[in-house]
Symmetry: none
Subunit: 411 residues, 2 copies
């Protein structure tokens, strides 16, 4: 079955709020095995809402709306839906009682306009709203289903989970199951090249690649009668992708790289320290975002000045003078230095030219040395990252964490 | 003129990513004085994209797309646009050279598929992409304008600001001018309370408040025949807001708090160091995101363990034993310790319970002590922040930086 979502509300069209309902519903509906090919946003205007309903039902079996069922005059989703289906609006006594009670407990006078929230299109299902005064509605007519929900996410989400999801589950005979493959170390187009034939012939499961700074994600999604059958379809595809991308894959799952690295350290009982120049604390901040890291992450240094590299990490002034702060040699001494002064088994360090200024022909903006120390052994990688200051720093952070992962794999 | 935005991409329909581009563009287009009545999201499918273009141009003069111009086969926005306008795709040599150069500097082989990004519909305008390989396109035909931009926000936003906004401004006969007022230290509802009467009577200029973690922003926007006239309308409103919110305002402008603080330090010739426990490097990373900070930011410590607090910052083990790592006393000694060992005029430090675990009745999740050292004087603030681990850490970071700003104001 095909589903489409329509957000009703001028505040989304003005950019005052982000349409987070759309993402939430899209994810939930995909998990229910429903196909979604279109989403719409439309303002508080009768003619345009009617047109949106009409467009949606031309291509979809189920239309879900969010927003426009509050007490004010420009809230009109339910009224327009009644008109679209040629139904009368009638009073839902239970809802009206509830609205009256709500205002009474708040010790407030109920504005007359609030009564309109208690109306519903005849012969439709009223869905209770446990977190607000506007109930939802389900209209079933000529094999079309319209589900009307409130706009505020804290009212919409529980209503969806408690009432709409069970309703839709009962209508659906397929399940969609997804697995995520997360990759660091090769770009989106190289990933696509390596698995192009798999993507080309994809039908079920499907493979969807997407990239964010420094990472590529593949989502493998199968549709089947039940979860087990779907997983059986996914398994061989994941296996094939693993064979082709090898250790560039850092996880089959949702966890971020800092969690993968932290768990490896905890598992291997190894402690870690960081020393950062151009990333300026971003690697440490990522590690600390995983709550469990306190077991293994002892300390980090942001040695932004040469003086700090020398005094905190014992990088020799000779090295700094001869090779410069951004060099293989400095990265190496930083890695050794922070591991020794912090007394950790592992350390990861960065030094680079994040830009926008400071670049030279020899050391261009984007040049970053990443040093890794593991139990006495140091390795240094040289990268030239593209993009603005923030992008260079983010990529250096991700690649630094990934370098720890790769280093730990052989231990 | 009426504008409509279309996001192209299956990953939005599956809920894998949120359509943040839509909110950004909606806001920007509203500021340009363009009307928006509809938004669409459509998957990577030729037939459906064609239909979306057709629907959009039936009701709008300008259609802006995001997404679907990358190197992979399911990226097809430009191809479908060429088909819709009945135009050939031709090679844009400059873009192709740029893509080749990009791969060369990266020291990588260019996958053949990447060349398709260098194609554009004949007789259209190519828009340079300074943050990626896929250029944008503007097609003007029969009084219709289609603007095609990349999906990744870090590519789309600069392209919009640098090229699309000036292009659209030239088409419009009224000017919209905005000034932003940025506030830290009081919440959104307190801000609203203090200026409610101004918001209520707003017509031109308008005042739009919005909040993000730890900050509140007011955008004052005036519409007029030219920029000077618009600024004349804005000035008295800004003055009035300044009178009411006082030093809670950290800037009238766009710069982030770390830039304001860095500039104050540079101006006053004062050096700074950081020592972070729960924020784990986030304050340092923020400071380093401002390129000019290298003049004044000497070093940072992420002293996550008690051992590190003692050995790096000379926090006494007595203090740690008696009061605990999360305490007024520890924050005070951390601030003194890092300023002394780093030999800086100023230091800012954090220690807290970021959660989700580790909270007690006495020291609940969200409790953060922030310590500030300025030339021998230490002050410590106690905060209890709401929200998850990341939210607690972000708020502590923002409030820490703001504490430096307030401390420096009287110097």
């Amino acid at each position: 079955m095909r589903v489409e979502i329509i957000a009703v509300g001028t505040e989304i069209l003005l950019g005052d709020i982000i349409n987070s309902n759309a993402q939430y519903l899209a994810k939930q509906l995909a998990l229910l095995g429903l196909d979604m090919y279109n989403q719409q946003v439309v303002g508080d205007n009768e003619e345009r809402i009617l047109k949106a309903f009409d467009d949606a039902f031309k291509r979809s079996d189920i239309v879900i709306t969010t927003g426009g069922i509050g007490p004010t005059k420009d809230d009109m989703t339910k009224e327009v839906a009644a008109k679209y289906f040629n139904k009368k609006l009638i009073a839902h006594e239970e809802s009206i009682e509830k609205i009256k009670r709500y205002f009474k407990t708040m010790g407030k006078e109920m504005p007359e306009s609030n009564l309109k929230q208690g109306l519903y299109p005849e012969n439709s299902i009223v869905i209770e709203n446990n977190n607000g005064t506007a109930p939802g509605t389900i209209i079933e007519e000529n094999n079309k289903i319209m589900i009307i929900m409130p706009g505020p996410p804290n009212e919409m989400k529980p209503m969806f989970e408690n009432s709409v999801m069970p309703y839709l589950k009962a209508k659906s005979d397929t399940t969609l199951v997804s697995r995520t493959i997360k990759i660091i170390g090769i770009g989106e187009s190289s990933v696509a090249e390596k698995i192009q034939d798999l993507i080309d012939k994809q039908t079920n499961p499907t493979i969807a690649p997407y990239a964010k700074e420094g990472e590529v994600t593949l989502r493998v999604t199968a549709k089947a009668g039940n979860e087990n059958k779907a997983l059986k379809l996914i398994e061989p595809v994941i296996k094939e992708i693993q064979d082709r991308l090898g250790e560039n894959i850092y996880t089959i799952g949702e966890e971020p790289i800092e969690e993968v690295v932290s768990k490896m350290l905890i598992d291997k009982k190894l402690t870690i320290s960081t020393a950062e120049s151009c990333t300026g604390g971003m690697i440490a901040a990522k590690l600390v975002s995983y709550p469990g890291v306190s077991e293994v992450f002892l300390e980090g240094c942001v040695t932004y000045s040469n003086e700090a590299k020398h005094s905190r990490l014992n990088v020799s002034t000779d090295t700094l003078d001869k090779y410069g702060a951004v060099s293989y040699e400095t990265a190496k001494e930083m890695a050794e230095g922070v591991a020794k002064t912090s007394n950790t088994d592992v350390s990861i360090v960065t030094t680079g030219v994040a830009g926008p200024g400071g670049g030279t022909d020899e050391k261009p903006v984007g040049l970053v040395y990443i040093g890794l120390y593991i139990k006495g052994k140091v390795s240094v990688e040289k990268h030239i990252f593209k993009g603005d200051r923030n992008k260079v720093r983010t990529q250096a952070t991700i690649r630094g964490l990934d370098m720890v992962r790769r280093g730990l794999m052989s231990i």
